[in-house]
Symmetry: C2
């Protein structure tokens, strides 16, 4: 395998043209699209029109005339096919954290004598933090049960009132078996909320087929919705009828502009909405998701696996000798769309690579993470990235960064 082989793979790749949908800076190898997706070419013009025409000229009229009122649903319906959901099951609003709160508080409130909210130690921090906040709020007969890494399935039992699980582990990239864990939860009568932040848009997600009732996910990673873009929340058509909202804001009311004295929940996914959505950020989500137009998600996921497989193969050859220890699963079926390594100086290495134009991600304490974004990543990018890491490690460039005070890389 050499660089020309990679160029050939790019030539043969049927998805190669999708890269043209993005505006990527020159001289940068971007491997952090799983933290913040790249800028779609259409976004600047869309946002410009939303600001100048819709807001500036249309003013308040644009809530109706420009369809701002329906953006949360429109964006949700655009995301639905990417995650195996149906029309009307997804809305885009608030942050992932707030959406987890909405689901967890509602589900734990009706816990029927069960006490445990189960998550796994090492799952994405905000998920566990939010669950901790809900449990503390609900009182003494409700507790957070943190399973040890890898042990979540065994931690679920007849006393489990809620399970919260990431589809892809943000550090290692390990992919959980959604169908199997959901089935186990169902058999034990415990609702499960799936966090799709690190899978939606790059990994096959089949919510309906896996009989998932509740999920949340992020639009600013693989979905390219822009920094801090509002998150999505999914409740299945089966579960939405009995879902009782807890964050009962006016956007979730059955008849918002009647301004009734009492809250009456909408009889749709709208009951997951709360306050006014941030229209400019929400508009950008539509452009991000539109980058998937005509893309077969299975084909996209297959490209992701090939790219990450190539990364691992090249790393075995050239990076293992530098002490970079693969932290991601070798089995492509168990791997999300990233390749992670452990190294005691992961932070310094990340800083050095970024200074050199290759952007990975650092995750405390020792994870160097390379996001694989198959919509716009080329095989030669993987080659060049490994090349750049090899050069940086060989030349000791990273040693200069070891004394840096740690601050967030992302």
């Amino acid at each position: 395998m050499n660089r020309i082989d990679c160029e050939l793979l790019d030539v043969e790749c049927r998805l190669a043209g999708c890269r043209e949908r993005f505006s990527l800076p020159e001289g940068v190898l971007y491997f952090d699209g799983n933290s913040l997706g790249a800028l779609p070419r259409t976004t600047a013009a869309s946002i410009g029109a939303a600001v100048g025409d819709e807001w500036g000229k249309g003013l308040i009229r644009s809530w109706l005339d420009a369809g701002w009122f329906h953006l949360s649903r429109r964006a949700g319906d655009a995301i639905a096919p990417l995650i195996g959901a149906s029309e009307g099951e997804v809305a885009v609003a608030d942050s992932t954290s707030v959406n987890i709160f909405k689901l967890a508080a509602s589900l734990l409130r009706r816990r029927g004598g069960r006490r445990k909210a189960v998550a796994e130690r090492g799952d994405f921090p905000t998920d566990v933090y939010i669950l901790q906040g809900v449990v503390d709020l609900l009182g003494a007969d409700c507790e957070l049960a943190l399973a040890e890494p890898g042990g979540i399935a065994e931690a679920i039992d007849g006393d489990t009132a809620l399970v919260l699980a990431s589809h892809v582990d943000y550090r290692t990239g390990a992919l959980r078996d959604m169908e199997r864990l959901t089935a186990r939860c169902r058999a034990l009568g415990a609702p499960i909320v799936w966090d799709l932040c690190h899978s939606a848009g790059a990994v096959p997600v089949e919510l309906n087929r896996c009989k998932v009732d509740y999920a949340v996910g992020c639009t600013y990673k693989f979905l390219n919705g822009g920094p801090g873009a509002p998150a999505f929340v999914y409740v299945s058509g089966d579960a939405i009828g009995s879902f009782e909202p807890v964050v009962t804001g006016w956007f979730g009311h059955a008849d918002q502009f009647r301004f009734e004295d009492r809250y009456r929940a909408a009889d749709s996914i709208n009951k997951l909405l709360a306050g006014s959505p941030p229209v400019l950020s929400l508009r950008a989500v539509l452009d991000g998701v539109a980058c998937f137009d005509g893309v077969d998600m299975e084909e996209l996921a297959a490209k992701s696996r090939r790219l990450s497989g190539l990364f691992i193969e090249l790393a075995d050859e050239r990076l293992a000798r530098h002490g970079l220890e693969l932290a991601s699963p070798r089995d492509p079926a168990g791997r999300g769309s990233q390749v992670s390594f452990r190294h005691p100086d992961a932070y310094a290495i990340a800083r050095a690579l970024i200074a050199g134009g290759l952007i990975p991600d650092f995750r405390d304490p020792d994870i160097l993470r390379f996001g694989i974004t198959p919509l716009y990543m080329r095989y030669v990018d993987v080659w060049d990235a490994v090349d750049a890491i090899d050069a940086a490690m060989s030349g000791g460039a990273w040693l200069d960064f070891r004394t840096d005070a740690r601050e967030a890389v992302t």
Copy 2:
């Protein structure tokens, strides 16, 4: 009083130049800036740079390099002087609804045996709805006590665990006495959350002087932050130490990127943050608030009262005969920055006026509302608005709209 008198008032107005800070469409008389503020001239360029340069070129690096991490606080500190708060007491994040939830859930959780959450019937719907959701969540020994309109002060007693009150009534524009109601709450040991949505940026707000501990407010009305821009939340320096967050997301963690297993709240207003903020919408808030640079808030509020006073004076002369009944207080000291009228066909009249280029607001069931935005509204605008209403009512233009199915005007 005639139009030339109004022109003279504009010439003499020391704040007249502020209108140049906004991009206002030709041929529109905009009286709904208390629903969605006008577009500042700088916003399009700021958002363009945030999209094209910061996101497009800086990519993930912009969280640090472009200061995205600090935007919530930066915007909060920019708003603080407009509402009589101090540096570090305000953050911009999430919606007003979600921020009310954060405050109400935390305060009601530690209710020390008190049972009642008090609000007033007819206060802004989402406020009451959210409170209802929190009360339902917290269980049987907690209830929502809705005072009849005008009766909130009397409804507060030793069994009151929380009070939620709008500073300005969204329908009538009546301004509550913040100092007095806050003092009463304090004397009775009941925390009060103030909703500043319809006052911040147009009415004197003196949170510190009035010894207010908790407040929320909206940035897309008088603060010109753009459609659905994230809201602000205020907790006083006195109260922040003992405040225990309930929506415990990673942005509120004491050390966010250590990715610890357990949530530890930041020891600042940051503990009110939850998830990633919508950066593009948040950026626009900075431009909106910058329109107040160098503006004396007392002078601005005085202009607001003069504009609304002029509106009422002209309405007495020319509109009362059309059956438009003033719903706003005549006493300028008790009036927020709007003038409202009641009319059985308020909806049809609003539609007709909008069709003719004058944009007011309709509020169910019979309120026709004219927002006064003293930063960019002229005295001649008030004259022209009354003229347009008089003409529309005289000519019967609104009768054609009476059969329209009601939909949201805003």
